[in-house]
């Protein structure tokens, strides 16, 4: 084993080793040369050595600077950061919040570990693993854990590192990467090549009508060739790719068996997983176990990725530090979620009338959301400006839903229209604050009527897919009328509701004008005071 490793080092670094040996030889000769000089000349040489070294270093720096500026498109390339493979130390148990993906990945680990057995049985050896999923879900983390668990070298690269303005540079980098991987596999019995942001080089290839080709094409061709080469060779090199882009974006050639054999979908964590993630990140900080209900936090953080949750905990730790607290309390986490999801507060000086109008607008949203929305919970209502809006009613789904029902879509439209209705009922007029709400309501209604078959005239099908010229004017008119009908029906319902609950609405307006912000608990308490409870699905 040891001679094999030495051979591997020699194959990988023979140029560096030769240079080092030459340097050592030159240094020895220099010392011998200095020794042969008389002390006066030796002293002169030694005395001038530091300044000579500085001058050489300065010249080299200037040369490298000029070279990078003029030959390598600026210093940006120098600053290009790579994942340091020495830092890869992610244990399998550290990977939390992706149980399904972990189970599948474990199989991959076993396949890589028992390669000999797989070959013996005559099974297919794993060559590539593609991890797909939204950003921040732990794809890179899982790849590192696979590397740790298999105990073989890990070569991380980012897809963007292959992208160059010069044709051929990316391809040569791919060649170099795989050459290195094969050498490591020779020495250690296997190697994992991890390419993050694979979509940078793996998008469907573009072939120019003028016969030219894009740089990424040649990079991708080289990647294909290298992965085929792996099949032919005996080296245990496994390529793990990770991308946020969908499978449809990736070139089919890469997805065929023999290249990325396995596809691992890593999705956002579910309630249980989020709970575990919160537990994991909170275990790394000091927090008040009495005030923080992790299950409740997990419910609040629907749709958040592990990276988001990590960010929430970090932000709450910062808030606690700023408040000179010893431990993180529930309020800090809520504030952190608000900051991350709603943005920072931005107080504007408004007239009393305008403030009242904003309060009525938000109250409209709030009442409809609480009383009519089947899937969402109110998280917070505020008349303090955030992210350009003058007020906001923040809401989250109660559970994870992967489809949207007709009722939910209608409730979304009603919620969007409620601000307009509330303004109209109280003031007899409306403001420009409704524009975003209208965009949302119209867009949902249009989708319901045109694409989802949720109309009353029996036009079932996705009419958006049909080219406009092929659609009859009559069909268009009917669909648009249906869309209009949906909106009008929702409007009437909202008007009725707000008129009916005007007392509650006035109470919320008063509270908002006084407190500016109302949390879920305060909102719930007021509704309960009037004997109201949220709509249950």
């Amino acid at each position: 084993m040891i001679p094999k490793r030495i051979k591997m080092y020699w194959r990988m670094y023979w140029i560096r080793l030769v240079i080092i040996l030459v340097i050592i030889l030159v240094l020895i000769l220099s010392v011998v040369g200095l020794m042969s000089l008389e002390s006066f000349y030796r002293n002169i040489t030694l005395a001038t050595m530091p300044i000579n070294l500085i001058m050489v270093a300065l010249n080299a720096t200037i040369f490298v600077f000029m070279y990078m500026i003029f030959m390598r498109s600026g210093l940006a390339k120098v600053r290009e950061t790579k994942v340091n493979s020495e830092l890869v130390n992610v244990k399998w148990d550290d990977v939390i919040g992706m149980e399904e993906a972990k189970r599948e990945a474990w199989e991959v680990v076993q396949l890589m570990k028992d390669r000999a057995r797989v070959k013996q049985i005559g099974g297919k050896i794993l060559r590539g693993l593609l991890m797909l999923g939204p950003p921040g879900c732990g794809k890179t983390y899982l790849a590192k854990a696979i590397a740790t668990e298999t105990g073989i070298p890990f070569l991380p690269m980012s897809g963007s590192e292959f992208v160059e303005i010069f044709v051929g540079v990316g391809a040569s980098r791919v060649r170099r990467l795989f050459k290195r991987a094969r050498e490591l596999a020779f020495g250690y019995g296997g190697c994992i090549v991890f390419i993050d942001e694979l979509d940078a080089i793996a998008r469907k290839r573009v072939f120019s009508v003028f016969g030219g080709t894009e740089e990424t094409n040649s990079t991708q061709n080289q990647l294909l060739a290298e992965m085929d080469g792996l099949q032919e060779g005996e080296d245990n090199v496994v390529v793990i790719g990770a991308t946020n882009a969908g499978e449809a974006i990736i070139d089919p050639a890469l997805l065929r068996p023999g290249r990325f054999d396995r596809k691992l979908h890593i999705d956002k964590p579910n309630l249980e997983e989020r709970q575990k993630i919160f537990e994991y990140y909170l275990s790394k900080v000091k927090y008040d176990k009495g005030s923080i209900d992790i299950a409740r936090l997990a419910r609040k953080a629907i749709g958040n990725t592990p990276a988001d949750i990590s960010n929430i905990v970090k932000e709450s730790a910062l808030i606690a530090t700023r408040n000179k607290q010893d431990v993180i309390v529930y309020k800090n986490i809520v504030e952190a979620i608000e900051r991350i999801e709603m943005g920072l507060k931005h107080r504007r000086h408004m007239t009393d009338h305008e403030r009242e109008m904003v309060a009525w607008h938000e109250t409209g949203h709030l009442i409809v959301l609480y009383l009519l929305h089947p899937t969402d919970d109110v998280f917070k209502a505020t008349i303090i400006g955030r992210r350009g809006a003058l007020g906001m009613v923040h809401h989250n789904p109660k559970e994870e839903y992967f489809t949207e029902s007709k009722e939910k879509l209608l409730a979304d439209i009603k919620t969007a229209l409620a601000g307009y209705v509330a303004e109209k009922i109280r003031f007899g007029t409306t403001s420009s604050g409704v524009s975003v709400d209208f965009q949302r309501a119209t867009s949902i209604a249009h989708m319901m009527a045109w694409s989802l078959g949720m109309n009353d005239v029996g036009l079932v099908g996705d009419y958006m897919q049909i080219p406009e010229a092929q659609l009859s004017e009559e069909t268009k008119q009917v669909l648009n009328k249906e869309m209009d009908k949906i909106i009008k029906k929702c409007l009437v319902e909202v008007e009725t509701l707000i008129a009916k609950e005007r007392v509650i609405a006035e109470r919320f307006v008063k509270e908002l004008l006084e407190k500016e912000e109302l949390d879920y608990d305060e909102i719930d308490a007021i509704f309960k005071e009037y004997g109201k409870s949220p709509l249950k699905m």
């Binding site: 670094y13 010392v31 200095l34 008389e38 002390s39 020495e86």
Partner: protein, 341 residues
Amino acid sequence: MKPIAEPYLGSSAQRCAAAILAVAMLGAGALGCTATYPADAVEQSIIRLCQQEYKIDVKVATVGQTIAIYLPLTNLLDFTFTVTPEASDRINNVLLCATRVVISTNAQFNFYCVIAHDTRLPEIQIVIIKSVDDVKRFLLSDVSRSEYSKRMLIDLRLSPQAKKEKVIKDIFERMNLDKEWQEELLNDFFRTEPAALGEIGYWNDRFFIKDITISEFIAEQIASRVKIEFKDIPELSEAFLVKSSDGKYMSDQGERFFTLEVLAVNRKFDEIDRDVSSDVFKMGLLVAANVVHAYKFEDFNYIDIVNVRDYKHLKVSRETLEAYRLKEMTFDEVAQHNLSL
């Protein structure tokens, strides 16, 4: 399981290279601290170097911070009374050996001199005196080659000791003293350390050397350079011949001063009456100002320049000399206040 990171030779190679470089630098530094020619073996080192490298036998003696090398030659001068090329070559070789030793030793030497003798004419000698600092500055390109050669004192003359002993021996002969008694008397009373640079020499297997001081070296150098300038400047060399130029550093009544006595005569008969004094004073002033400045020598109150032909004196204080060097005063302004008969 502990992960295997990519074996990265870069950092270990850098560490290794840095360690080797550091060891090499430290080693070279430690070597640099050791003098090639130790202080207690300077004389032997010069003798050995001359013998090993040029097959020349020399004798070496030291006094204080001055080292003297005696080089016996068989053909120092030719019939035109000039130094033969062979002799010049051997003198240069000895000078080189002496230079190598004095600059690479831990002993503190300020001056060294080579005394070359023609064994057939032992009364005639060449004495070359060099300052160790001048040599180092020349090797570090701090002074030019021409300036360096002007800073060397080269003197071809009759051995002063020989002259002295000849006179005394004549007297002893007339007194009919026997040889042994003559030698004893000479040893006891007449073979003493020289008082001036001009008396340095080698006679009868004995060094006559002194510990040279920077002040007398400067005084001699001023005189030597005035002579050289009168030879090198065509206008002056065509008009005048410097017969003697003698520089001394003296101390009298608490004052220290240089004297420069120059005897120059007119070369052309029709210019026999042309006054040389202004040229002597101008040149003397200029040379003295530059030399004392070059050695940063300030331990003197004034310089007295004497034109031996008419015994006119130009006595210039150190401050005035510096002002003249800096061109803050003209020669006429200097002469107006300081010239005397």
